[in-house]
């Protein structure tokens, strides 16, 4: 009887966990392409590249409790790695014959550099560039977070360090303009392996690639959330010491969360470069990094799908307000942020949750009562605390207590079950 109940519960959870995902997938892959012209769709494609950063923040900040105010660094590094490849392809000796040194990127020529620097050389090859997109930012994230978390530097201090990194990288990129393009950035990117990325058909293809990768990333993150790892991340966020004293290496879990966020941001950055056609230092700094945190906050920092909606809402708002009210738009954006944060502290996802929850609960009660009126769903207790089965960890990632704070699934075991009380 209990197993039957569990399986129906599981189906319900799965449906619920995937419902939002499927709706988002339909919206992005079907509704938007049908409803929008190529210009607007290209804009959405650009917004979705920020969505990668936002879901990264949901994993690091919402789940891991690691707030990063420097995600622009990883977005930028991913973007720059891609831009370097595209720039080298655009700088063939024929189209740069007007330069003093043909065959090198134009900004190097303007800065009196006469030969391609050695470390640019490997970026002539797409596989290397793609590898660099993924590895370089993740490696940097590993170095930063390993150094910090091993010393148990966390919380606000870590956030400040990430800001410092963003500032340092900005200064470095702007200062080394002969190698990086400086303030102007790396511009005028045209083709990838001969494929013109500026045509309408290319924009459509890039949009669908972005959507596919974003959905895959969300799915991957949901899988992590449902796994033991996700539970531990939550537990660690809410009561770090208890997890540590249970024998887990807390620092490495935090490092993982931070690296995952960096990895996702870098994918977003590379796709951004492809869609927009340039990369500049204005993405690496503190302001864009904080803006990216706002995307996640507006969407709801516990919800992957919500973070994507948050990114879309903020950026649609930005575009719409600045097109319609060029003089007032900054005030309207500020009003949007303040309004969302004050009215729905858990972001869009929290709003959805609080509205849908009651409706679902009634529906569920109506469904269950005639079948098994005596079995309270909270009595799912697993004797072996360390081994978690699918039923337990299949708890909804969005499960919240009344205050909206996420809760460790009730079956997670003795060691971490105490968290619930303190999480509110």
């Amino acid at each position: 009887m209990i197993s039957k109940l569990l399986s129906s519960l599981k189906t319900w959870i799965d449906q619920r966990g995937l419902n939002g995902f499927i709706i988002l997938a339909i919206l992005l892959a079907v509704v938007f392409p049908l409803a929008m012209d190529s210009f607007r769709l290209n804009l959405v494609g650009k917004y979705l590249t920020y969505g990668f950063v936002a879901i990264g923040l949901v994993m690091a900040w919402g789940y891991g409790g690691v707030l990063s105010l420097g995600q622009g660094v990883f977005f930028g590094l991913g973007g720059y790695a891609m831009a370097m490849f595209l720039k080298l392809e655009a700088s063939d000796p024929i189209s740069t014959k007007i330069q003093s040194t043909p065959g090198i990127p134009d900004f190097m020529d303007w800065n009196q550099i006469t030969a391609l620097p050695i470390w640019w050389e490997p970026f002539r090859h797409l596989p290397f560039a793609l590898l660099a997109v993924l590895v370089v930012p993740t490696l940097l994230a590993f170095i930063i977070s390993f150094a910090m978390f091993k010393r148990r530097v966390g919380g606000v201090y870590f956030a400040i360090i990430t800001q410092a990194v963003a500032l340092i990288l900005t200064v470095l990129i702007i200062g080394q303009q002969g190698y990086t393009g400086g303030v102007n950035g790396i511009t005028d990117l045209k083709t990838m392996l001969g494929w013109d990325t500026r045509t309408n058909s290319a924009k459509y293809i890039l949009y669908f690639v972005t959507v596919a990768l974003l959905l895959a990333s969300i799915y991957g993150c949901q899988w992590i959330q449902k796994s033991k790892l996700g539970t531990l991340l939550l537990a660690m966020r809410d009561k770090e010491d208890r997890v540590r004293f249970s024998g887990y290496d807390v620092a490495m879990f935090k490092v993982f969360a931070f690296c995952l966020a960096a990895f996702l941001s870098a994918i977003g950055g590379a796709l951004f470069t492809l869609q927009v056609g340039f990369m500049s230092a204005s993405f690496v700094g503190i302001v864009p990094s904080i803006e990216m945190v706002i995307f996640a906050a507006v969407g709801g920092r516990m919800s992957l799908v919500g973070a994507v909606y948050g990114t879309l809402l903020v950026n649609f708002g930005k575009t719409y307000f600045s097109e319609s009210f060029p003089d007032l738009w900054l005030f309207l954006m500020a009003a949007l942020f303040i309004g969302v944060v004050m009215a729905f502290p858990d972001g869009l996802a929290g709003l959805w949750e609080s509205h849908i929850k009651g409706w679902l609960a009634r529906g569920r009660a109506a469904l269950r009562k005639p079948k098994n009126p005596d079995a309270p769903p909270s009595q799912i207790v697993q004797p072996d605390a360390d081994v978690m089965t699918m039923q337990e960890i299949g708890s909804p990632p969005l499960a919240r207590s009344a205050s909206g704070s996420p809760r460790v699934p009730s079956g997670a075991g003795m060691q971490v079950s105490g968290i619930q009380g303190q999480s509110a």
Binding site: D37, L43, D106, F107, D188, R198, D327, W329
Partner: protein
């Protein structure tokens, strides 16, 4: 010119005709005011936003963010020119409608908004951009979508595009004659070069150094070259270096807010115009507002335009500008260059008899604008302007006194041989 009252319904037509007639000799394009008869299908074969009565153009500057303070003057000047053109009956009989977009001092935003203007709004031309970075961000889009950009700022050169008309000076126009003047009038032999650290000052100083070392009388040399990040406010170490090097001429391309600290600290350190000759290529009347005339007094600037230029065109322009934007408004070099944009576009459209970008681009070289506040300009084959360079000396009231002017129009040369 009082255009503010031109909405009086009785006098409006007469006024337009009068103004239209009056402007013909000014533009040097007699007979082209009959364009009103041209059917839209004929003047617009590329699906631009042109109707029988209206043509839509875009304006893309930073109305917000750090660059807003600099770009506001350009926004105002372009609007003034468009209002004046509309009061004269528009372009080929069509009123100009402006779609304003805010680049927000953010280069990716510039790229997004330029795409919107060209792809969605199908504007016939765009007046906009200020920094090199914003121009570099939108240039590929203008070339891809075949748009027309009128770019007002003096800039580093090394660029030329069918889709851009550069109404400001490129680096050699602004620098070479100024340095020659410094040698001739101020007997400068040693130069100390200072710039903000980005592409325009770097390129400008490269050109200046090549000129000093290769083209000025033997013995001329650079005794120092320093760059500071944008936004730097502490110049004390630089000032000490200058004091040690004792250059005959400090040659400056520091931009934005850094200027305020730089000139104040110079003055505080006792480096005043009484003792030191200083020539800048980056301070216009707009910047002096922030620096304060008393801190800048006596130093020199090399530009193509100063508000105090004494000619009838400029008098009318300054008067109209102040009538529209208040008596305290000042007009700097870039503001004037921005004012040229709509007029040069109008002349090109009328010469081509079409709004099509390809035809405008082809018609532009050779176009003259005799009504320019800077007196006279002509578009070169390379889409830059022939213009004069002037030396102004800063006054305590924030204006510049024009002390020298190049006798000839200087040819724009964005890819100078021997200077790269």
């Amino acid at each position: 010119m009082s255009h503010d009252d031109s909405n009086d319904p009785i006098s409006i037509n007469r006024r337009r005709i009068m103004q239209g007639l009056a402007a013909l000799p000014v533009l040097g394009l007699p007979g082209l005011s009959f364009g009103a008869n041209l059917p839209t299908a004929q003047v617009n074969t590329t699906k631009l936003a042109v109707t029988d009565t209206e043509v839509t153009v875009g304006q893309l500057h930073s109305a917000t963010g750090t660059m807003a303070i600099s770009e506001t003057g350009s926004i105002q000047a372009e609007q003034l020119a468009i209002d004046q053109i509309n009061a004269m009956g528009g372009v080929l009989g069509r009123k100009i409608k402006v779609i304003k977009e805010d680049g927000a001092s953010d280069w990716p935003t510039f790229a997004e908004k330029s795409k919107k203007l060209l792809i969605n709004d199908k504007v016939a031309a765009v007046f906009g951009c200020w920094t090199s970075a914003s121009r570099k961000a939108v240039l590929p889009i203008f070339e891809k979508e075949n748009g027309m950009l009128y770019y007002p700022t003096f800039y580093e050169g090394l660029e030329q595009s069918k889709n851009v008309i550069y109404t400001g000076q490129e680096a050699t126009q602004q620098i070479l004659w100024g340095l020659d003047w410094a040698v001739k009038e101020k007997k400068s032999k040693t130069f100390f070069l200072v710039g903000s650290d980005y592409i325009w000052p770097r390129t400008s100083m490269k050109i200046a150094r090549k000129h000093i070392e290769g083209h000025l009388p033997s013995g001329s040399k650079v005794v120092g070259e320093e760059y500071y990040p944008l936004g730097t406010t502490n110049f004390n170490s630089l000032i000490n270096k200058i004091k040690v090097a004792k250059p005959d001429c400090i040659f400056i391309a520091v931009v934005g807010g850094s200027n305020v600290s730089f000139y104040k600290q110079l003055k505080a350190a006792g480096v005043t115009s009484a003792k030191q000759f200083l020539l800048t290529i980056s301070v216009t009347e707009d910047e002096v507002l922030g620096i304060g005339g008393e801190n800048m007094q006596g130093f020199y600037a090399s530009m193509k335009y100063f508000q105090s230029l004494d000619n009838p065109n400029n008098k009318k322009f300054v008067e109209a500008f102040k009538a529209k934007y208040g008596p305290k408004s000042v007009i700097g070099d870039v503001t004037q260059a921005a004012y040229l944009g709509p007029w040069l576009w109008k002349a090109a459209v009328e010469k081509a008899g079409s709004f099509d970008v390809d035809k405008i681009a082809a018609a532009s070289p050779g176009i003259e604008f005799k009504g320019a506040p800077e007196a006279y300009v002509k578009i070169h084959e390379n889409h830059h302007l022939w213009s004069r360079t002037r030396i102004g000396q800063a006054q305590a009231d924030g204006q510049f006194k024009v002390v020298a002017e190049s006798p000839e129009l200087i040819e724009p040369n964005p890819f100078p041989k021997g200077y790269q």
